[in-house]
């Protein structure tokens, strides 16, 4: 039985719910990285199809940022590490 099923008190429930929010990997726009390169990196790291990678790349380009993955923090950090290694601007955010 977990804390959500049987909270000891209200504060504990709030803490648990907050920590349950997943993390999202966010790619940020920059004027240097070439669009084709960004698509290629997204395909290589996340295994996206060419179409999906291009769609996300365009979202980065047009909106300034795009969420490319959502999940646990450890894996999200691993992905950001790979994106930084490819010299893309990326960070982590709590999912909405």
């Amino acid at each position: 039985m977990n804390a959500v099923d049987a909270p000891a008190h209200e504060g504990q429930t709030r803490t648990k719910k907050k920590s349950d929010k997943p993390w999202q990997v966010v790619v940020l726009d920059d004027p240097v990285n070439l669009m084709e390169y960004v698509s290629r990196v997204l395909t290589n790291i996340f295994g996206f199809s060419t179409e999906k990678a291009k769609e996300l790349m365009m979202a980065v380009h047009q909106k300034g940022r795009a969420v490319v993955w959502v999940g646990n923090r450890e894996k999200a950090e691993m992905y950001v590490n790979q994106l930084h290694s490819a010299q893309l601007h990326a960070t982590l955010d709590r999912a909405e």
């Binding site: 004027p31 950090e77 930084h84 010299q87 990326a90 982590l92």
Partner: protein
């Protein structure tokens, strides 16, 4: 300088003047050693990115710059051409990208269509702008001819 694809799936750079050699050697000179730190600045403090990840990335980026300079210097000593093959394309692309990221960080060129014409009044900035365009052009050729699956 002539730059073009090879039948073996690589890219061949043929420097023809001292200026061409200086341009290629300058790839490392245009880069800075703080890219990993700037990327770490995008992360929150909880990640301890500065302490854990950034040093590894800094070393990786440094290796790219050193490898490219060594290849250029070796070719210069032999008065030969430079071949970028599939096996080393990521290193070359990365070194060129480091140079462009550093130039952008320093001069804020922005997107090509947004460049302020006033930058051309300063010879050093103008030169940096054209080096940036050259690096970008080579990257485009690498993507088109070498980084293909």
């Amino acid at each position: 300088m002539t730059v073009g694809p090879t039948v073996a799936g690589g890219l061949k750079l043929v420097p023809e003047t001292d200026h061409d050699w200086m341009l290629l050697i300058g790839i490392a000179g245009d880069s800075d050693s703080d890219l990993a730190g700037r990327l770490a600045g995008l992360m929150d403090e909880d990640s301890m990115w500065d302490e854990i990840v950034a040093p590894e990335l800094a070393e990786e980026f440094s290796k790219q710059r050193i490898k490219v300079v060594k290849e250029v210097m070796r070719a210069k000593e032999e008065d030969g051409d430079i071949y970028i093959l599939k096996g080393s394309v990521d290193i070359w692309y990365g070194a060129l990208n480091q140079a462009r990221l550093a130039l952008e960080d320093k001069y804020k060129f922005g997107a090509r269509e947004e460049v302020d014409p006033k930058i051309f009044e300063d010879p050093s900035v103008r030169a940096a702008y054209f080096r940036n365009n050259f690096y970008s052009h080579v990257q485009g050729l690498l993507l088109q001819y070498v980084m293909v699956d």
